[in-house]
Symmetry: C2
Subunit: 327 residues, 2 copies
Amino acid sequence: MDIEELTRGIAAGERRALARGITLVESGRADHRARATELLEALRPLGRQALRIGLSGTPGVGKSTFIEAFGLMLTGQGLRVAVLAVDPSSARSGGSILGDKTRMEHLSRDPKAFIRPSPSQTHLGGVARRTREVINLCEAADFDVILIETVGVGQSETVVSEMSDLFVLLLAPAGGDELQGVKRGIMEMADLILVNKADGDLKPLAMRTCADYAGALRLLRKRAQDPEGFPKALTVSALEEAGLEKAWEEMQALIDWRRENGHWAARRADQACFWFASEVREGLLARLTREPVKGAMAALSERVGKGEMTAAAAARELLDGYLSGRG
Amino acid sequence: MDIEELTRGIAAGERRALARGITLVESGRADHRARATELLEALRPLGRQALRIGLSGTPGVGKSTFIEAFGLMLTGQGLRVAVLAVDPSSARSGGSILGDKTRMEHLSRDPKAFIRPSPSQTHLGGVARRTREVINLCEAADFDVILIETVGVGQSETVVSEMSDLFVLLLAPAGGDELQGVKRGIMEMADLILVNKADGDLKPLAMRTCADYAGALRLLRKRAQDPEGFPKALTVSALEEAGLEKAWEEMQALIDWRRENGHWAARRADQACFWFASEVREGLLARLTREPVKGAMAALSERVGKGEMTAAAAARELLDGYLSGRG
C-alpha cells in the first residue's frame, strides 16, 4: 500500500488503513521510518485534533474496567474513542497490558472504539515516540477522544502527561494514612483524581479517600492553566457505571476553560516543540548504533579499556572522523 | 603556558601546573577543550594510578571533619592525597561544599594534600566529566589517594561510584528504626560503611547503628568482586581520630584482593569504556547547541509549534541537512 492510498484510508477513518499506518510508524526499519514521516506529514494538513486523556493508576485499581465503562459511555454519546497504552515493560512481560483485549471485551468489539496495545520496546523513549505518532494517526482518522493508559513504571507517567491534554489519576479506596505509593510529582501532574470502587461496602471508604485526596490537592499550588476548583478529586464506580458522566463533564469543563484561555493551544505547541527536540536527540544518538560508526566506536572503546587512549581523545576521534556535521 | 610545559609540570607533581591543568579541563571553551584533550593524552603514557575513593554521607555526619582527619592520617604515612568534590548544586548555592577550605584547615595547608572544589556547573553530567578528567590529572601528578566527595544530591552517588575504585558511605549514629534516608541502591554501592561520631555519649549508639548496618549489609547479595566479609560496617571517630587506621586497612585489604583477582583492572576498564561512550554522546548532543544547528533548530521548532510541520519531518530535515555524518 502506498503512502497516498494509506493517507486517504486513514483520513476516511478506515480501521484497516489506521492499523497499517500504526504498524508502519512502529517499525524500526529505516525505510519504514522515512515512509512513516511522509505519512504523518501528509496527514498533518487535516488539522484534526482529539481530546488526549492520559490515565494512570496503581495496580489493582480496576483500570481496565474503568476504561471499558468510560469508553462505552463515550461511544454511547456518539464519540469515537481510541485506547493506547504506554508500557515500557511490555516486551519483558511478554505481552502488553492491553494485549489481552478480553479485559475490555465490550469496548474492543465496539465499532466506534479502537484499542491498540503498547509497542513492544523496552526503551521508554522508543515507546513514547511511537505512541505520540500513533496519537497523530488516530487524530487524523477522526477519533474524538484518545485514552493513553500507562502502567506507571518509572518515568512513564511523565511521558504520558507530556503527550496528553489532561491527566487523570485512578486510585483505589484506602485507609487514611495510606499513601498508595503516589509520588508528589504524580499528584502534581493530575488534573483529576478518580477514586474508583465507590460501590458496595467500599463506598464509605472511597468517599473518605476522595476527601483525603481533595485535601491533598488543595495543598498543592494552584496552576495558572487551571480554573477555580482544579485539580479535583471525585469518586466513581466503574463496576456500577456511576460517576462516569460527572467525571466526563469535569474533564470537558477543564478543557473548555483551557481552550478559551489559550492554555490548550499553548500546551500543544510546547509539547510539539518538546517532542521535536527529543526526536532530534534520539535521531542523533541513533547514529551511534549504525555502521560504520558502531564498529569504529567498538574498536575505540577497546583501546580505551586497555588504557591505550584516553576517553576524551577517543571520543574526539570518533566525533571528528565519523560524526562531524556538514553544516 | 603550552601543553608540553604543562605536561612536564604536572608529571613533576607541581601544584601550580596541576591547578592550571584543572582550570583547562574545567573550561567550557572549544579551544580549551581541544588543548585539554591533548594534555590528557600526553599524560596518559605515564600510566600512574591512584586509589580512587568515593565518599558520600548524609548532611551533618561530619564529612569535612572525617576527610580532614583521614587525609592527615594518610599524609602522615607519607601518602599524597587529593580531595575532589562532585556537587552539581554548587552553582546554585553560590559556592562549593569545599569552597570554604577553612572547613579542612589543616589538610588544606598540608603540602602533601591538594583540595579542589567542585566545578561550578548545574549539570551533573558536566561536573562528572570534569571531575573524571581532574582525577586523571591528579593521578599523573603522582597522588596516591584521591578522595571524591559527593553531597548526595540526586544521582551524584552513582556518578561518583562510577569513577571510584571503592565507595565509602559515612553515616551518623541513629536510632534503630531510623533509616537515615539511605536508599537501597546507595547501600548496594557501598564497599564500606563508616558510622562516625563513635565518641563520648554517642559511642554506644554508634556501635548499635554499626551493628544494624552490618546486619543490613549481610542481607544484600554478596558481590563477585568482593572477598569474604565485604561490604563491611565499622565505627570511627573523626573527632578523636579513632578507627581511621582500621578503616584504611580494610580499604587496602579490599583493594589488594580485587587487584589480585583481576577485578580492579576489569572495573577500571569498564569505567573507561563507560566514560568514553558517555563522552561521545555528550559531544554529539553538544552540536545542537552550536551554530548553525542551533539557529536552524530554533526556526524548525517554531514551525512545529505553529503546526506547520510534524516533529518527525522537522527532525529529519535538521538531521539530514545539518547533522548528517560524513561516514
